[in-house]
């Protein structure tokens, strides 16, 4: 028995000659919100589909709550709520009939009242045919479908796709609340700000392999901080030379404005700045987006 709720080991998947997953290793712990990051085509959706036995890996092993999806697909699927990235539903259903239809396919389901409450929070009309709904409203139906079963794990592929900013926030709130109840959330996204908001840990996938996995905060803190300092009078360039963790990126305005990159502690910088008349100081902490882009810029550089 393993403690991991998701355990992927050396996962390989080929689409003809395309090597979509290249030895992917990943572990997700129970109860965490795990953000799976990567641009289109990196292998996020392929990974999720392998975990649900919709497609089969060519090599490697998958364990979801201890079950191999290829050997016990029903056991896995009974424990997982899934939102596909390319969501499609039969258009002649209304959301109400569609959700009832899916509800009949599961055993341990939430009450209809709970689903109605969620539909209310998502501002979703349940009695219009799905084929007439906007993309955003279809996405809401898809999201509701994940909440039909009482499941310990939700796999959400781009959960806020097509939603307006207010509704994106509401969906993130719902996901966070679900996680607070103990549900493990595995979600893929390329909207990094939303991952940063709710993910406890993130994994970055590049060309079918995991290149980074860390606590979201650690990943951001590990990255370099930038500072822009504006002095009241010109400052000698070598004033920061004694600080090993400081790199000068730019000097403008006749040596009055410095753009600096700081690795680690800020103490030395603050003490040095105190020796000069500082007019303005702006500290810029990198977002997850910048961390993420760094990996991909490095990748393009390699190519």
């Amino acid at each position: 028995m393993t403690d991991a709720i998701i355990e992927l080991t050396n996962l390989h998947k080929y689409y003809g000659k395309l090597h979509a997953l290249r030895g992917l290793n990943l572990t997700v712990r129970p109860g965490e919100v795990f953000g799976f990051l990567g641009p289109n085509g990196a292998g996020k959706t392929t990974t999720i589909r392998c975990m649900l036995d919709l497609i089969r890996p060519n090599r490697g092993t998958i364990k979801i709550m201890g079950f191999n999806p290829q050997q016990a697909p029903q056991r896995v699927k009974a424990r997982v709520g899934y939102l596909p990235g390319d969501l499609a539903m039969e258009g002649d259903f209304t959301p109400r009939k569609f959700l009832r239809h899916l509800r009949k396919l599961r055993k341990d389901t939430r009450s209809w009242e709970e689903l109605l409450e969620l539909a209310g929070r998502l501002d979703l009309s349940l009695d219009q045919k799905i084929e007439t709904l906007s993309q955003g409203n279809r996405q809401k139906v898809g999201l509701l479908s994940c909440f039909i079963g009482r499941v310990p794990l939700m796999m959400l592929d781009e959960p806020t796709l097509g939603l307006d900013p207010l509704m994106q926030q509401e969906v993130l709130n719902i996901i966070r609340e679900e996680a607070d109840q103990g549900t493990t959330i595995f979600f893929s996204s390329h909207i990094l700000s939303e991952v940063q908001k709710i993910a406890d840990r993130v994994g970055i996938i590049r060309q079918g392999a995991l290149v980074e996995i860390a606590q979201t905060d650690d990943l951001i803190n590990r990255a370099l901080t930038r500072a822009s300092v504006q002095f009241a009078e010109p400052v000698p360039e070598d004033s920061f030379g004694h600080l090993a963790n400081i790199k000068i990126l730019r000097i403008n305005d006749e040596q009055r404005t410095f753009t600096l990159e700081i690795a680690g502690e800020m103490d030395g910088l603050i003490k040095t700045l105190a020796q000069f008349p500082v007019r303005d100081l702006a500290i810029h902490r990198p977002s997850l987006e910048e961390v993420f882009l760094k990996y991909y810029k490095d990748d393009q550089g390699e190519e």
């Binding site: 689409y15 003809g16 589909r49 649900l52 919709l54 497609i55 089969r56 890996p57 060519n58 090599r59 490697g60 092993t61 290829q70 697909p73 029903q74 056991r75 699927k77 009974a78 997982v80 899934y82 596909p84 390319d86 969501l87 499609a88 539903m89 039969e90 002649d92 239809h101 899916l102 009949k104 396919l105 599961r106 055993k107 898809g142 479908s145």
Partner: protein
């Protein structure tokens, strides 16, 4: 299983009523048409004699239009297997693969239902759809037969050509389903299956006047379809051939669906899931 089955059957409701009632009306009025044509016996015989042999071959060739059984074959069972065959092909290629292409199958298969459940429930609903169309059509024929004294047939005999029709439709359905599992798209599977229907119709029809086609005709499903000829006795051997081949095609289609990846855009084509050395599944 029942949820998916009843959903599919519900979706086919209009198709059942439309085809069933339409064909039932046609069947009912065929008996009236026969009675009115019977009076023009001599003129019709002269007219038919003027038709080329090749053309007559397409409408039964050896059957006698003035015989009630021959008339029913000529006016209905000689062509309906082509029309309903195309309907069966359309239903079969939409059954699984079209849903994969549209993407709606992904969310269904993410629920705790097996691929086998999806496959057999959808298939059972489609087969029942065909059966119901044929039963309603037979009802029209039965009412027509009850309303006339000109036909020396009983209601039990009238069931035989429908059994033969069902068997050949099942074969076309199962062929289309199998091809949809192998060919790249549901459209390609429809096209090839419909070509098989048309080619089979031509081969079996022309084989009646050209012996050189007999070798090829052995592989033509239409050869084993009796149509109106079954009114004078059902050929159990032919029936079993059609049902047996259908069953083999269905089992093969099911196995392929079980083994292969679900199709999504960009996953390539003509790729049957074959277990390779080192594969984990």
């Amino acid at each position: 299983m029942l949820t998916l089955f009843s959903r599919k059957l519900y979706k086919n409701g209009l198709m059942i009523l439309g085809w069933g009632l339409g064909l039932a009306l046609l069947g009912y009025f065929l008996f009236d048409i026969y009675e009115s044509m019977f009076g023009m016996n001599i003129d019709l015989q002269q007219m038919l004699a003027a038709f080329p042999e090749e053309m007559l071959a397409f409408f039964g060739g050896d059957v006698d239009i003035f015989d009630p059984a021959g008339f029913i074959h000529l006016e209905f069972f000689s062509y309906i297997q082509v029309i309903l065959g195309i309907v069966a092909v359309s239903g079969a290629t939409s059954l699984i693969v079209k849903k994969e292409e549209e993407g709606s199958l992904e969310l269904i298969l993410a629920q705790p239902v097996s691929r086998s459940t999806v496959f057999w429930s959808q298939l059972a609903a489609l087969i029942l759809t065909l059966v119901l169309i044929l039963v309603i059509t037979w009802g029209g024929f039965a009412l027509g037969l009850a309303s006339t004294d000109s036909f020396d047939l009983d209601q039990g005999q009238l069931v035989h050509p429908f059994i033969s029709l069902f068997a050949v439709l099942l074969l076309f359905l199962s062929l289309a389903l199998l091809l949809s599992m192998i060919l790249p798209t549901s459209g390609a599977a429809s096209m090839v299956s419909n070509l098989v229907i048309i080619a089979s119709f031509f081969i079996t029809s022309l084989a009646q006047i050209d012996d050189r086609l007999e070798g090829l005709n052995r592989f033509s499903p239409m050869r084993y379809y009796q149509g109106g000829r079954a009114l004078s006795g059902l050929n159990i051997g032919h029936l079993l051939i059609l049902l047996g081949v259908s069953l083999a095609f269905l089992l093969l289609a099911w196995l392929l669906f079980e083994k292969r990846d679900l199709r999504f855009s960009g996953t390539g084509w003509l790729r049957v899931a074959i277990r390779r050395k080192g594969d984990s599944f």
